[in-house]
Symmetry: C2
């Protein structure tokens, strides 16, 4: 039988009562693609999610029902969003900690993750100090307050060292490899203190994700393998190929321990280096949905965006079980094609199983403008197909020589 024709609701209170499994509205600070990808699951859960955006054209702002304009580092703007909701959460980690601490102390709005946890994703020196104190595996690292500290650190290595600004970095920004002690003078002048880390001779990068509620209920996702391109996440295979059950369990336990030790709420991503002897070292932490978890939107019972909302809204967590033996994700990084439409059509036509996610962002070289996902049985086949789609979309269909894919299905 046909569906009921529209009948307007009279009472917004009744609507809200009928609409949400949580009492709380969740405000999202920041309107990038991570906020954007929370909106679909929020609609299905009946969770209202107003977004704080600096511009109405931002990725999430362009598609959100409720947008508040303002900056994430402006206390008044953050407070205006907080006043509308019961919980605030984040698209990125750049909200000043003191604003969040004041909000948390006042107690009218829950901040999830809380500022004390979030600090470890905001400040790399704090993160290294804390993880080291907790005994979690880190690369060798040094606190650098002057060129002499860097000279001393360099003398302990093979002559090259990674220098990072403690705050404000993202993707490849705020990371530099140096060979001489004067090569970070500009950053020292600017930041006062820097983090130096040994250049880890890793064999590959892994990522482990945890979801955790305020009361402590937590679960882990399968550990994945990630490949970076110019410092930007580019390709993910879930679960990480060749990682045996014991290693999977050990790394999941490590990520869970970090989430508990730091009292994280929401999604935590632990980026890891795997070394030739099978050891893992923590690279970075992120306390929000993470690029290495995008596969879960299509490859897990509960995608990371739904899971983050469930965790910060203090709803029961959903299963992180996979829907297929392998999922792959390839990022769409801005390239030659300014209009993605022809390539996207060609990619969808070439592979009916392709899941396409576009962020509504203008194309700039290297910019994250979307991603594609495929699920199936064979990682190599899925990667060939995902990269074929990527090239069609990024280069445009005319520029793309499409290789014959061994296992592409129609």
């Amino acid at each position: 039988m046909p569906e009921t024709p529209p009948r307007p609701d009279q009472s917004s209170a009744a609507r809200r009562a009928g609409g949400a499994p949580s009492a709380g509205h969740v405000g999202i600070i920041g309107a990038g693609q991570l906020a954007r990808m929370m909106l679909g699951p929020a609609i299905e859960l009946g969770l209202p999610t107003p977004v704080l955006a600096t511009d109405p054209a931002e990725s999430a702002a362009a598609v959100a029902a409720r947008v508040q304009l303002g900056r994430h580092d402006d206390e008044q703007s953050v407070r205006a969003l907080a006043a509308e909701v019961e919980v605030i959460t984040f698209d990125h980690e750049h909200v000043p900690a003191e604003i969040l601490r004041r909000l948390e102390q006042e107690g009218a709005t829950a901040v999830r993750p809380g500022p004390a946890a979030l600090l470890h994703a905001q400040d790399k020196l704090v993160m290294r100090e804390r993880l080291t104190a907790l005994g979690h595996p880190c690369p060798r690292w040094w606190r650098i307050a002057a060129a002499e500290d860097l000279a001393a650190a360099l003398s302990e290595t093979d002559g090259r060292i990674v220098v990072k600004t403690p705050r404000g970095g993202y993707d490849a920004h705020g990371v530099r490899i140096v060979e001489r002690a004067d090569q970070a003078d500009d950053w020292l002048a600017q930041h006062g203190e820097l983090l130096a880390e040994e250049l880890v001779p890793f064999t590959r990068e892994l990522s482990a994700q945890v979801a955790r509620r305020p009361g402590g209920e937590a679960l882990t996702y399968p550990v994945v393998q990630s490949v970076q391109k110019d410092g930007v996440c580019y390709e993910v295979v879930a679960p990480a190929p060749g990682l045996d059950d014991a290693a999977q369990q050990q790394i999941r336990a490590l990520a869970l321990a970090i989430a508990e030790d730091l009292d994280v709420t929401g999604m935590l991503a632990v980026e890891l280096f795997e070394t030739a002897d099978g050891e893992v070292l923590v690279n970075e932490l992120a306390m929000r949905p993470h690029n290495t978890g995008h596969w879960s939107m299509d490859g897990a019972v509960t995608g990371q965006f739904e899971q983050h909302l469930r965790a910060v809204a203090d709803l029961p967590l959903g299963s992180a079980a996979t829907l297929a033996p392998v999922s792959v994700m390839v990022n769409l990084l801005g390239g030659a094609a300014e209009d993605l439409a022809p390539g996207a059509r060609a990619a969808l036509a070439a592979d009916p199983e392709l899941k396409l996610h576009l962020y509504g962002k203008s194309v700039r070289p290297g910019r994250k403008i979307g991603h594609v996902t495929l699920v199936g049985d064979d990682a190599d086949d899925l990667l060939v197909r995902a990269h074929r789609a990527e090239r069609l979309i990024i280069d445009g269909p005319e520029a793309t020589v499409v290789p014959t894919s061994p296992g592409a299905t129609r």
Copy 2:
């Protein structure tokens, strides 16, 4: 590494170029739950989808980025939406055909499905006449213009007959079982003509869905079994249990033939009666996403809402393959609990694999206010779990005696 912090986009033209695989924006007429469930996939595809709503509190209007207020049967309102987009499509079939025919003739906006196709979902007499002429299997039926026609039809049956208003019915509305020729006088006075159909002694109801693009590319979804409750869709198992491959293929071919014969674009649902001898008869047609296809949001590579958008935007269709051997869907029909939150929390806590979809509608008895889905291997186990969730949400956790489920997983 952390994600890029927000950077506003300067050019909305560039945003659009970068954002959508289709040139076209898709306007949705009607703002019920079907429109609502199109919004998440539209965000991922980068397809702008303004919604025509009669009230800003309607299910889809409350969560859409762009809402235009106006009635679906008011030509000016429909035209105002059409002027904003390249394609219009529908949440329901109640838009007057003459408005759509004029829009189609003018050619500035594509109407999908087109009015000539849609008429068969709007007028049950037109549908019966056409399907019969095409040779597709229907129950015995009669055109009733006067009580004498009904008397004659009754005399050809076992004394009971189904009478339907040709237009404007939905769910159980506009359907009546009569035993005497004077029992439809009121409807005859009101509608002029009625459809009478034999009371089919069906063993169960099935539903077959087709997706079809303007150029004719089409595919079918697995045939499902549906159970109604007081004339409203209540429970779906996909694929239909015990339906062998030959029957699956035969019914899929029937649905595909109807889509082609009627030149449907978008999703077509063919509701069917299965009789004791394994024959199927067409009950109703719907040309939009359909309640019997909600399982595909969680149980198929391409859910019906994404598929409908791809079809009407003339994008390549996505795979309709299933992600698990069995998917079940149970509707949440308004009951005792006015606040769904406690029951929804209990249901999510009881079953981490549960997929919850709430429509943001106030609770009224029998009203469709959401649905739950589960995917897995065993239909009986999934149904027990889905109905347990339904009872928790609809009755509230205090009122619900939760049976121990054989296969529920934590």
